[in-house]
Amino acid sequence: MSKLNIELPGLKLKNPIMPASGCFGFGREYSQFYDLSLLGAIMIKATTVEPRFGNPTPRVAETAAGMLNAIGLQNPGLEKVVGEELPWLSQYDVPIIANVAGSVEEDYVAVAREISKVPNVHALELNISCPNVKHGGITFGTIPEVAKQLTWKVKEVSDVPVYVKLSPNVTNIVEMAKAVEDGGADGLTMINTLVGMRLDMKTGKPILANRTGGLSGPAVKPVAIRMIYEVSQAVSIPIIGMGGISSAEDVIEFFYAGASAVAVGTANFVDPFVCPDIIEKLPALLDRLGFEHISECQGRSWKEHGQRTYHRA
């Protein structure tokens, strides 16, 4: 019996491990390394109505236990994603979560309407929090009313459940989460990247051509855990957690915090096999900790529970 299967709105997952949006392209590159059907799901790269080139390079800079990126939503556009990328992915037995982005409300609505019709797209991830696009993106993710409204509009046209991706760059993450829950979101994904910057020692100027970028990787994990801990207690929709995950232990920590599934981003760059490795290691770790099923870990950081007799750790 599987210890890892999880059901979430729109998603029947073999296991709760999926690559995070923007860190896995549309899967083609990583299909060289392993069978993508091993994954719980795949969050594909942000898709916009028109193709985008994104920001000038350099687009990445390293930081202590983290990295900054300012890719700028480069993607081949809705038509190509629907016509080529998603059909290619349909050869694998793995549900797709389509990351939807745009500059204005109508963009989001247009992408959501079309992409949610594609058979292997089982859910949408509304990217209202990308810190690397100039107009739009970030503002949607920091004003509760605006986020709620956008969620509502997208829900109206979407054929599949809608998850909203929250930005950590806010004073009050709970307020944002509640707003999009009110807007009809079926789930949350969090966290997107923290806005950061690095300067070049010689020139004094930002290393990234876009100046600021999004901080990801192990450095941000404590912020992600804290936010999921707070939000999971305040809303009743499930959370797909992310931010610095690189091991099976990290996955358990996110479940403890309150996540019901997780996404792995930056760690794919460091180790292309990280997702299947984690999936392989989780059952033994659950055994060691005394859990029969990963769902027992969910929310343990704040849920009351008696002394479990089956807790063997």
């Binding site: 392209g25 990583y30 390079t57 687009r59 794919n268 760059f269």
Partner: protein, 256 residues
């Protein structure tokens, strides 16, 4: 096929000021298809986080050995330089597309131009061209005398001109100063971007292949960190990735 392998270090030595030659035992050597491909090296668990792209400078498929030459610069290469024989290093590779040797025939002349830390990948290229019967000429540019390496090795394959910016060794000046007096059928080059730009401008009429550098995330084409624009692109959205389409491009293929 790209492999991820823990490779044993069988040699590490400083061959010039802050320039190290690292030799490893690696099964992934069998997957190398061309000189000019690179590997992606992980030097720590979380800090530094990202892998470091380093060119393959030479390899021996039978002995399953691979050499790299790198400059100790920042965090990652400093840690790498501290590793000693017997230790294991996590390598992802071979990555990318290298220098096409089928573009030149036996009897023709190839000019190989390298700048600083762009010199290493040219060494395997030089060996393979010579083995093929191509006449090879090298122009190698360095900052200063203490940074010069592999002159003897290149000399064994063909005529070799060394330049230093400060004139402390070889010819004083830039590689382009030497190049203008040389005759050749094909030009392969690797080095700092300003050098590549200068060469592309002057030799756009020649058969020219350039190896580019860009900051990388994944190294395998997934993260879009390393894209370059294509010239004459009306749509403004077409691109090539240095990691998986390059690092070697034909002149004109991408905007340098």
């Amino acid at each position: 096929m790209i492999q991820k392998e823990l490779c044993r270090i069988i040699g590490q030595r400083e061959i010039a000021a802050d320039i190290y030659e690292l030799t490893i035992k690696a099964n992934l050597v069998k997957e190398i298809s061309e000189p000019g491909q690179f590997v992606h090296i992980r030097v720590a668990k979380h800090d530094p986080l990202l892998r470091r792209p380093i060119s393959i400078s030479s390899y021996d498929k039978e002995a399953r050995q691979l050499k790299m030459i790198y400059r100790k610069e920042g965090k990652g290469t400093t840690l790498l330089a501290e590793m000693v024989e017997g230790m294991e290093v996590d390598i992802l590779g071979p990555l990318g597309n290298g220098f096409p040797i089928e573009e030149v025939s036996a009897g023709e002349t190839a000019l190989l131009v390298g700048g600083g830390i762009g010199v290493p990948p040219l060494y395997e290229l030089s060996k393979q061209l010579k083995a093929k019967g191509v006449k090879v000429i090298h122009v190698l540019g360095f900052q200063t005398k203490s940074a010069v390496f592999y002159e003897q090795e290149f000399l064994q394959n063909g005529e070799t001109f060394v330049t230093t910016v400060d004139g402390s060794y070889g010819f004083k000046g830039f590689v382009t100063d030497i190049m203008k007096d040389l005759q050749f059928d094909i030009l392969y080059t690797c080095g700092p971007t300003p050098m590549l730009r200068a060469i592309e401008q002057k030799y756009s009429n020649k058969k020219l292949f350039l190896s580019l550098e860009e900051r990388m995330g994944c190294g395998v084409g997934a993260c879009f960190a390393c894209v370059c624009k294509r010239p004459n692109d009306l749509s403004g959205v077409s691109y090539k990735k240095v990691c998986s389409d390059g690092p070697v491009f034909r002149a004109g293929e991408v905007f340098i």
